[in-house]
């Protein structure tokens, strides 16, 4: 009797402890029943680790990069940019990638709070990462013929899809999911170097498939994997100049693999795209902590279903080509295109608009805008403009923007060209009223407008018409003062 009373007291105390903790937790606490599942048991398990240990260990280090990113964004939103851009970046590239962990890491032990925020999203990533690793295993297994490898990849795909609650759709999703949301681009604008690191990860993760699939001998596969790893490491030199400027797409980086297994390639692109989306949700300070779980779950559902923002496979392939493989870090095998160099289609068409100077008998140098002059004009007009960290290429302009944060989260994007001809080459292609190329749909966070003068183009993004007019007044043409 005494023992039963003691037991009851113990259990009561335990439950009270649990209840107290629950009661003190955020009000959006959710009951989640997501679960882990073992990878498909097969003879090829861990063959990639066995045959390509150096590349395999890099993936263990990648686990840390993703995890510490999410944990930092979630738990230290007010931390200085240098926390990720310098401290973590230096640790990862200077130590972790130099001597990667010997086994896959337990990400829950690194992204503790993130894993509790959205265990469902974490399971989606874990499940897709298992598919990644198992496809490597199949193609690293020298005992299998290509036909057997194809069959085994199809089995892996079926096994992957058996988890409908966590499997990414194998329908390609358009860029609206990644770049057309209110929170879109928040991460890469604030953390361009770390974003480049993540994209370099994704480049290697899909790029490694290409030498495995295309090489005809064991030695050639070994050489191809070694070369891809070397290209990855080269991307990390002089960051972020050699890093991918846009999200690497499997169809571009690993075209033969994508042709052979389009559904698998699309799943990986959706996976990597959702990685970026979650980074944006976590980095966007306009999404309060209390709404981050809900936003991520909405995005996760969109990436799982076969209906939201779907495009055709042909459109997916076309998009991969049009974004430019050079922008994505270059091919993983074959002729090397300098990483980070813009694709031919994106090269500025400078020197076209010579007619703007027609009639000048003396080729006097026209006055040019500079960043300092723009900032001075804004200061003189009493407009607070805080420089934002540099970003990669603009979505439709040929040069990167210098971005400034105005009051209330509004933004000013400044483009400075060598001369007005270069500027004209860019702006002539735009529908100025919409501030977009005629055939491109862009969702702005607020109403955009464009100011053009000489070598300057400015995009003002605000819903405050008074503020827009003040900027216009501040940036009156150089000849107008």
């Amino acid at each position: 009797m005494v023992t039963l009373m003691s037991l009851r007291r113990q259990l009561t105390a335990l439950m009270a402890l649990g209840a107290l903790h629950v009661a003190s937790s955020p009000a959006d606490a959710q009951w989640s029943t997501t679960h882990e599942q073992f990878y498909r048991q097969a003879s090829h398990n861990w063959q990639f680790r066995r045959n390509y240990p150096a590349a395999d260990r890099l993936f263990n280090a990648f686990d840390y990069g993703h995890a510490i990113l999410y944990e930092t964004l979630l738990t230290a939103p007010a931390a200085p940019v240098s926390r990720l851009e310098q401290q973590e970046y230096d640790f990862i590239t200077g130590r972790l990638l130099v001597k990667p962990p010997r086994v896959p890491l337990e990400e829950s032990a690194i992204e503790v709070e993130y894993a509790k925020l959205v265990p469902e999203a974490k399971q989606m990533f874990d499940w897709a990462h298992l598919l990644h690793r198992q496809v490597y295993d199949v193609w690293a297994d020298e005992r299998l013929t290509p036909t057997e490898k194809d069959a085994e990849v199809q089995r892996l795909l079926r096994y992957y899809r058996s988890r409908r609650d966590v499997a990414f759709s194998s329908k390609p999703k358009d860029m609206d999911l990644m770049e057309g949301q209110p929170y879109s681009l928040a991460f890469r604008r604030r953390y361009p170097k770390f974003n480049g690191l993540i994209w370099a990860y994704h480049w290697l993760q899909v790029g490694l498939y290409e030498p495995l699939v295309t090489a005809q001998t064991r030695e050639a596969r070994q050489a191809g994997v070694t070369e891809a790893v070397a290209r990855f490491r080269a991307m990390l030199e002089q960051p972020p100049s050699r890093m991918p400027k846009v999200m690497p797409m499997t169809a571009a980086i690993a075209p033969e693999f994508s042709r052979r297994y389009p559904e698998v390639a699309i799943i990986f692109d959706n996976l990597h795209s959702m990685h970026d989306v979650i980074s944006d949700v976590l980095a966007d300070t306009t999404v309060p902590r209390s709404r981050k779980r809900a936003e991520i779950l909405v995005a996760a559902r969109r990436y799982r279903d076969d209906t939201t923002s779907v495009m055709t496979v042909a459109e997916w392939q076309s998009m991969a080509v049009s974004m430019g493989i050079g922008q994505m870090g270059g091919p993983s095998v074959g002729a090397r295109q300098p990483a980070g160099q813009p694709a031919a289609s994106a090269t500025p068409n400078a020197g076209v608009d010579h007619t703007s100077h027609a009639g000048h008998t003396m080729p006097a140098q026209p006055p040019l805008w500079s960043a300092e002059l723009v900032e001075q004009r804004l200061r003189d007009a009493g407009i607070a403009a805080r420089p934002l960290p540099p970003t990669g290429p603009h979505i439709f302009m040929s040069i990167p923007a210098r971005s400034y944060e105005l009051a209330e989260g509004d933004e000013l994007q400044l483009f400075l060209y060598p001369d007005s001809a270069a500027r004209g080459a860019d702006t002539r292609k735009l529908d100025i009223d919409r501030v977009a190329p005629p055939n491109m749909m862009i969702k702005w966070r607020a109403q955009p407008s464009m100011i053009i003068d000489g070598n300057l183009a400015v995009i003002v993004i605000t819903n405050d018409e008074a503020r827009r007019q003040r900027v216009r007044d501040a940036l009156v043409p150089l000849g107008g003062r």
Binding site: T3, L4, S6, L7, Q10, L11, L14, L17, G18, H21, V22, S25, P26, D28, A29, Q30, W31, S32, T33, T34, H35, E36, Q37, F38, Y39, R40, Q41, W46, R49, Y64, T75, L96, P101, R102, V103, P104, L105, E106, E107, S108, A109, I110, V112, E113, A115, K116, L117, P119, E120
Partner: protein
Amino acid sequence: MLMLVSLLVPPARAQTDYYNTSAGRPLRIEDASPVEYRGVELDLAPVRWEKSRDAANRWFLHPEVAVGVFPRTQLQIGVPVALVDERSSSATGVSGIEISALHALNAETSIPALALAAELMLPVGALGAEATYGTVKAIMTRTLRAARIHANAQVTLGPTVRDLEVNVGGLDVSRWLAGVAIDRTFPLRSFLLSVESFVEQPIRDGSTLEWNAGAGARVQLAPRWALDGGVGRRLTGDDQVWYVTLGSAYAVGLPW
């Protein structure tokens, strides 16, 4: 005396991932995570050694297999073997068959991870008990950035042992048990340090409460293979033993 050996055998529950602890591997207090669905975990030779005040040595070999039979649910079977070496006698033999199940109720969010477990110890083997014992357990895990905290509470149904000739005391199958463990993870080394403290009421008639404390570690040696070890001390009660555990687990998946 030897009939009680089965009740001495500490329950164990397989867990290959170094991060997720299980009863006996290395500590008594475990977390609320089952073996993942479709996972099979083999604990082929986990060993526990106990040294009591009266110089008795007890060795336990506890081979077992756990299978993730359903999402968030594992089923486990173990066949413990014991070697008891006392001043006047010694014996070796199977000390029962353990069949257990653990079901996780949820994944941890702002709500702690919760799980329920049930275990049957069947009276099988030369050193087995004379009756069947059933145990139910509630488990809670809370993960913080600095540490992971686990709380266990369990009660066992079955006859009270009244054999006054028994002098081993300190039975690991207790009438009830409650305790807490704290883990500290070193994720880049895939290494876990744990400490625990628990109190239990031995199932033997007339015994007093026993307080225990222990510390242990788990490390992931390879993707499929984890190693664990621990040391502990029964601080109060009739049988204040030191104990040491060493084990490893190997993981495969269901072949279909």
